[in-house]
């Protein structure tokens, strides 16, 4: 791997250009490098598979016929050297050809087009709710340090990160759906309900666009249970980090100075504390997106939520290589993009970052 430009101080010293642009340019290059690395990882992962994909895809009967097997290997390029296979893989990627899934017999790209919006809808819902609740709880706990509120937030957030999502999903499913009947069961929409015409793939947005109130209510109701499961975890994570980020800032000298000058508490919190704490909080929000995707694999399995997680799980257990590579790419690239976006936001919030 070539040396990464991940050292702004070294590469950028004394050169012209706007510092913000230069900083963003470097972060962008690093992100590109990481994307390239992701293609390498997904490729290596599937190339190293000792289990024979040929038998898994063709079935035992066809795999016994050497003619069929040779044909299959030629089609996938499995008879060429690894380096050539990788270049072929990259070439197909550039043309957005992610191969054909062995289990659905559809192009992987089409499968992903169906799966991604389902997960995205769930993840966005959870992210918005848990950023509000988590950062709010963390701020409250830090401002009331060593008071009862702090203790309650601490215990609740530890419970949140200690509870296995797949178990909580099952328990809430049992209580909320089977016992109380307050929530709809699995899936994204009631089976008897016609899905709204597809625009974004997000059922809540599409039903609103179509002006279909019944479908919208039903889609939101289906989001609630899996949403609560993931939110509990994400809130726990965010509350902990926000609390310690705010505590850090509270003991900083500029905050002491602001308070000593007699600024009202509210002004100090909103003008100085929150702004400074925003940088670490933003970073954690970006990073927590990865945990959210991990959690959604396990949650989707329980709620039969036909998203990326379930697709990944099904293709991984059936050795559907093309599909696994596709999911790995989408997930890796999403994660890198989000963290690049966080870098950009950070640079705007914190001027020091650009000058480093």
């Amino acid at each position: 791997m070539p040396p990464s430009p991940d050292a702004p101080g070294r590469t950028g010293a004394g050169r012209g250009g706007h510092p913000l642009l230069r900083y963003l340019g470097i972060r962008f290059l690093v992100s590109l490098l990481l994307v390239w690395g992701v293609t390498l990882v997904t490729f290596v992962l599937t190339a190293l598979v000792p289990a024979d994909p040929v038998a898994a895809v063709l079935g035992d009967q066809a795999a016994a016929d050497p003619e069929v097997v040779a044909q299959f290997r030629r089609e996938l390029g499995l008879d060429r050297p690894l380096a050539v296979q990788y270049l072929l893989y990259l070439q197909r990627l550039v043309h957005l050809d992610l191969g054909t899934s062995a289990q659905t017999r559809q192009p992987v790209l089409d499968d992903l087009r169906e799966a991604v919006p389902a997960t995205l809808e769930l993840a966005l819902f959870v992210l918005v709710v848990s950023v509000v609740l988590g950062v709010g709880a963390g701020l409250l706990a830090a401002l009331r340090h060593h008071r009862p509120v702090d203790g309650v937030v601490r215990v609740l957030s530890l419970v949140g990160i200690s509870t296995p999502t797949f178990w909580l999903a099952l328990i809430l499913f049992y209580v909320g759906f089977y016992r109380l009947g307050w929530f709809p069961g699995s899936g994204r929409l009631d089976a008897r309900m016609a899905p709204p015409p597809e625009v974004t793939g997000l059922l809540t947005v599409d039903s609103l666009l179509a002006g279909d109130a019944a479908a919208f209510t039903d889609a939101v109701a289906h989001l609630l249970l899996p949403g609560i499961v993931l939110t509990l975890y994400a809130v726990g994570l965010l509350a902990r980090f926000s609390r310690s980020a705010v505590l850090d800032v509270l003991s900083a000298e500029h905050v002491t100075a602001a308070r000593a000058k007699g600024l009202p508490a509210r002004a100090v919190v909103f003008r100085y504390v929150l702004r400074a704490a925003l940088v670490p909080i933003l970073t954690v929000v970006g990073l927590s997106f990865g945990s959210l995707l991990s959690g959604s694999v396990l949650t989707e399995a329980v709620f039969a939520w036909h998203g990326l997680g379930q697709y990944a799980y099904q293709s991984a257990t059936r050795l559907d290589l093309q599909a696994v590579m596709g999911v790995g790419l989408v997930v890796g690239i999403t994660y890198i993009t989000i963290n690049f976006a966080v870098d950009v936001l950070t640079a705007f919030v914190d001027p020091r970052v650009r000058r480093r």
Binding site: M1, L45, A51, L143, L158, W167, L170, T256
Partner: protein
């Protein structure tokens, strides 16, 4: 530790003030006490396991999905096995396996991190970029991919989990080593002509063990969650092993019999929570900021 420490530092001295371990383990808060008690109770179950008067966790009975009763405290599962016996037996699977995972990942990760920090340059760049790459994938998804690629077996699951867990240790160790590398006694040792490996082993390692061990304690809960999560997906332990995650997945098929999944899940929550309570106290004890903040009453 003073700057005049000779080439050979006090062995295994963590860079915190003396007595940090005792201070942090002294239960100042009820949470830490609860954590320690629960963790010790589970430890006892692991040690005494075979001697406990419970039923055979593998014995199948025609009494399938039976609710809680005097014979079966936690009911029975889909094959008529006693859930209480399986939860107890599961402690002897989940806890040692997670411990093994944490230890292996700590050894691998801190070795990589130490080498990167000590050698620097291209080696450092390459190793840390690889770590970044692994971190660019959500843990379960990458572990799932590796476990599936290698084929379902416990060994492969452990390998898969190692692949996703080493980078955090590598990062922490690297930054600690970078801090230790420029200390006088380490430089003195290198100037005396000892090789990098000897320098690593004798001068650097003792100075990074404390924080890395704390990280491992904090990480134990995550290891339990990762292992049970993979098993839940059918990519970790293999049936009929009484593993908690695997037992919860039996409850998915039979969700109306709530006891099948509820009790193994509670076992997971209790041990993870206990370790997180302990870890929280450890973190507080090691973090001087939390002690300062006690004095400065918040707004």
């Amino acid at each position: 530790m003073s700057a005049t420490t000779p080439a050979r530092p006090a062995p295994a001295a963590p860079p915190a003030r003396p007595g940090w371990l005792r201070r942090s383990l002294r239960p100042r808060s009820p949470l830490t006490a609860i954590g320690v008690v629960v963790a010790l109770a589970w430890l006892l179950v692991v040690v005494l396991g075979p001697m406990l008067p419970v039923q055979d966790p593998l014995a199948q009975t025609p009494d399938r999905l039976a609710p809680l009763s005097r014979e079966h405290w936690f009911g029975t599962d889909s094959l008529g096995r006693d859930v209480f016996a399986r939860v107890v037996a599961g402690a002897r699977v989940s806890i040692p396996l997670s411990l093994l995972l944490v230890v292996l990942s700590m050894l691998l990760g801190s070795f990589v991190g130490a080498v990167a920090g000590l050698l620097g340059g291209v080696v450092d760049e390459v190793l840390m970029r690889v770590a970044d790459l692994v971190l660019a994938f959500p843990t379960i998804i990458l572990a799932m991919g590796v476990a599936a690629a290698l084929g379902p077996s416990l060994t492969h699951a452990v390998v898969a989990m190692l692949v996703v867990t080493w980078p955090q240790y590598a990062r922490v160790t690297r930054s600690l080593v970078l801090g230790a590398r420029d200390r006088e006694f380490v430089i003195a040792g290198r100037l005396m002509g000892i090789g990098w490996f000897t320098s690593l082993r004798r001068d650097v390692v003792p100075n990074v063990t404390g924080p890395v061990l704390v990280l491992a304690t904090l990480d134990f809960g995550n290891a339990v969650l990762l292992l049970s999560g993979l098993s839940f997906l059918g990519l970790g332990t293999v049936p009929p092993t009484p593993e908690w995650g695997l037992m919860v997945s039996d409850g998915v098929q039979n969700f109306t019999a709530w006891w099948v999944a509820a009790f193994p899940g509670l076992a997971i929550v209790s041990i993870v929570l206990a370790f997180n309570f302990i870890g929280d106290a450890l973190r507080d004890a090691l973090d001087p900021r939390t002690q300062q903040a006690v004095g400065s009453r918040a707004l």
